[in-house]
């Protein structure tokens, strides 16, 4: 099925616009180019409003404005009635024409003092078609809505008419839920579900009837109901936790992406604090060493500047030692005393000029210095030796302390450099925002871990509860046999339980089969369309309906895909839904390549061009999106290219064909 034409009257910027989508080339591809705020997105809204009475892609600004075109409101008189009308003309695969029309009539009230009011007065939705006998038919209300559901069901429309951003958001779990809902719709298990619910009620009633036969049975019946309800709650809880966990994981991935090239500010600040402390300690050591060097220079200053005197004194003492003048062997004072008193130490008196006196005099004459001086010279000897040795050590000592100081200084410089580096890194980022992002990431990571833990616990409890429920049902059956419950009633209960179990199995099988079909189709599309085929090995859809992609080296690689590859993967999923659903309806995409990097736009354009060989694709592009890469592909393949432009009054649009 394809869209032949869209006619819009008085719908927002579209005062009176018709756009035809004739297939003039081998590709059913149509491009509409418009700047922001021209009405490009309102074209998407127009189709949604016509078919489903909803405008899902409204900006806040547009929401404030009435649906009725402002130029029409402006020129209308007070009390005039004007209609908003949209007509979508389609053709089925077998050539039948179906026209969907929705209009809404407004009465315009004008008052000089206030803004004009547009009051809705009447509305209608109708579908016009030709029956088998080529007779024109017109249907309204629910019957008309049924035709819409055969074109594109409401539950699936987001996979046919959507914003290009939508493709990116596919990878978030909320959409996983919507995929699940879409699969439910496609597999038509709603009928099976209805049967399941009905059977549950029947079994419940039968058990209740059996329970009324005996109080014991009634008690067991009540237990079955409680456990069944508990089991359902547990299942719902599990599903909720799983969904939350997937959302949280996704958020963590998203935040990791945002933070990838952003430094961990908290870690940097921690490092900086440590460095500042280290710098303080190093500075203290440095200052200590500077002080020590000053002290050494002071000490060595005394010694080296007085060194000549130390040398001379040492020489003098050396000579006196060699000439045995020091140390003195005789006490000069004692000898002077003996000579003056002529009294020997043995207490003998000797005469003047006697040989003993001459001998003492001779020894006395040999002593040239006083004993005090001799003693001082001897005392000086060891101190002089120490001082000279210290002087000799000057060079090595000073070099050693200088080297220590230089090392310290180098360390201080390095530390300061790193502190400055960190300072400038932190300064160039919005610290608060980054801190927030890290905190968010931490919170989501915590949710993932907590939920994972809870899920583990709940799964065990659920298993346990299932066993308990089965045991209780068994108990009920035995008890009902014992209570002599009618054979027939017991048989009905058994049959009901078995049937219920089978129906549930069938429902799950159908859903799973559809999921597998979608998985296969999505894989086929992706591997057919992707430009780097050798990079990927496999793709699959998990039980949460999230699409996964496996690298040729065996790891999950959705997180590391480029923007355009993710878009392609999502597009493959969308196309697979189209195939499996059986709804061969067109795709209309607003901003199809808004998120695709320029160098991949050519590849993406090729993909869209190829798909349009078998399916109508209508693209709404901004001029900046419709870059050289896209034009190169589309100018030769698209069936039509048009510009939407606002007229001078800025209140209505015109459509200009691009000449090819």
């Amino acid at each position: 099925m394809r869209i032949d034409k869209i006619s819009m009257k008085n719908y927002r910027q579209f005062r009176d616009v018709k756009i035809e989508f004739n297939k003039s080339t081998g590709k059913d591809l149509h491009v509409i180019i418009a700047t922001n705020a021209t009405g490009k997105t309102n074209l998407l809204n127009a189709i949604n409003w016509c078919l489903y009475e909803e405008e899902p892609n409204m900006s806040e600004k547009t929401m404030q404005l009435p649906r009725l075109n402002m130029e029409t409101v402006g020129v209308a008189s007070d009390g005039a009635k004007e209609r908003v009308e949209i007509e979508v003309t389609t053709t089925t695969t077998d050539g039948a024409s179906i026209i969907f029309t929705r209009w809404e009539e407004y009465e315009i009230q004008k008052d000089d003092e206030q803004e004009p009011k547009c009051l809705p007065r009447d509305r209608r939705f109708q579908v016009a078609y030709f029956d088998e006998k080529k007779n024109p038919k017109l249907v309204t209300d629910q019957e008309a809505q049924d035709y819409v559901n055969r074109f594109v069901p409401r539950n699936l429309r987001e996979f046919f008419f959507f914003d290009g951003e939508r493709l990116e958001s596919y990878f978030h779990t909320l959409t996983g839920d919507q995929i699940r809902a879409a699969v439910f719709e496609i597999s038509q298990v709603d009928k099976v579900q209805g049967m399941e619910e009905h059977l549950e009620e029947v079994v419940k009633d039968l058990q209740k009837a059996a329970g009324r036969k005996s109080p014991q049975l009634d008690e067991i019946y009540q237990q079955i109901q409680e456990k069944t309800s508990e089991h359902k709650d547990m299942k719902n809880k599990l599903e909720k936790l799983e969904r939350e966990m997937i959302v949280a994981k996704d958020k963590v991935e998203e935040l990791d992406d945002k933070l990838r090239n952003i430094p961990n500010i908290a870690a940097l600040e921690g490092e900086r604090a440590k460095l500042i402390e280290e710098k303080g300690n190093k500075k203290a050591i440095f200052d200590e060493k500077i002080k020590k060097r000053r002290d050494l220079l002071f000490e060595y200053g005394k010694i080296l500047k007085l060194y000549p005197s130390l040398q001379r004194a040492t020489e003098i003492i050396q000579v006196m030692v060699e000439s045995k003048e020091i140390p003195q062997t005789y006490d000069a004072k004692l000898l002077d005393n003996i000579l003056s008193t002529r009294l020997c130490i043995c207490d003998r008196i000797f005469d003047e000029g006697s040989p003993p006196e001459k001998a003492v005099q001779k020894v006395r004459d040999e002593i040239t210095i006083s004993s005090d001086v001799a003693r001082k010279l001897i005392d000086m000897q060891s101190s002089l030796g120490n001082l000279q040795q210290k002087a000799d050590e000057f060079d090595n000592t000073i070099k050693s302390i200088t080297s220590d100081i230089n090392l310290c200084s180098g360390d201080l410089e390095r530390i300061q450099e790193r502190i400055d580096d960190i300072g400038s890194t932190i300064g160039s980022h919005n610290v608060e925002l980054i801190g927030q992002l890290y905190k968010e990431r931490e919170n989501f990571q915590q949710i993932t871990e907590d939920n994972n833990r809870h899920i583990g616990i709940l799964e065990v409890e659920a298993k346990d509860l299932t066993k308990q429920l089965e045991a209780t049902i068994l108990e009920f059956n035995k008890a009902s046999e014992k209570a002599g419950i009618q054979e027939e009633l017991r048989r009905d209960i058994d049959f009901g339980q078995a049937a219920l179990s089978k129906i549930t199995e069938i429902k799950n099988e159908i859903m799973d089969r559809v999921r597998k079909q979608i998985e296969d189709e999505a894989k086929n599309y992706f591997f057919d369309l992707v430009w780097k085929k050798e990079t990927f090995k496999d793709a699959y859809i998990d039980h949460n309906y999230i699409l996964h992609l496996i690298h040729k080296q065996g790891y999950e690689c959705v997180g590391s895909l480029s923007q355009s590859e993710r878009q392609l993967l999502a597009l493959s999923m969308v196309l697979s839904l189209h195939v499996v659903s059986g709804y061969d309806s067109p795709i209309l995409v607003d901003s199809p390549v808004g998120r695709v990097d320029e160098e991949q736009r050519g590849n993406f354009a090729d993909v869209l061009s190829r798909v349009s060989s078998n399916k109508q694709i209508i693209l709404l592009c901004l001029p900046v999106e419709y870059s050289k890469e896209l034009r190169t592909v589309f100018e030769s393949s698209a069936s039509s290219q048009r510009h939407l432009e606002l007229l001078g009054n800025q209140l209505e649009l015109t459509v200009k064909e691009v000449l090819q």
Binding site: L297, K302, I303, L304, L306, S309, R312
Partner: protein, 139 residues
Amino acid sequence: MPERIFIDKEDRSFYEKAKKENTLNFQNKNQKDQFLLAVAIGFDNKQKREIKTKEEFFYDFDLRPEDTALLNAVALYEGSTVDIIDDDKKVFDIAQQYASAGIRILCDTIDNVQFGEFDKHFEKDLVNAYRKLFESSKT
């Protein structure tokens, strides 16, 4: 009776200046060590100065054996006989005169050297003195 060692009253302001500039950690040294450095600088520059007005600076019991050896060595260098070291007064007189000149030379150097460069200047001075004394004797 302990002997006193004197400086010239006028020298006090030079010692204060040296402390204020705190070159070579001067302000954390005791007066005895400050005096000895001044003696060394005066001796190295071969300059002495007569004390006009004496002012007590420290006592001889503050001197350690190495300090005494230094002062005696200066006196021996100066005097004609070794007996000079027997007269503490004479030894201290010689030291005092060298110190009075030395502290002035120190302050003068502080004024003439670029701010913050005194340590480097002093070290260079000592390295040259060391080389002259030790490396020439080794060759």
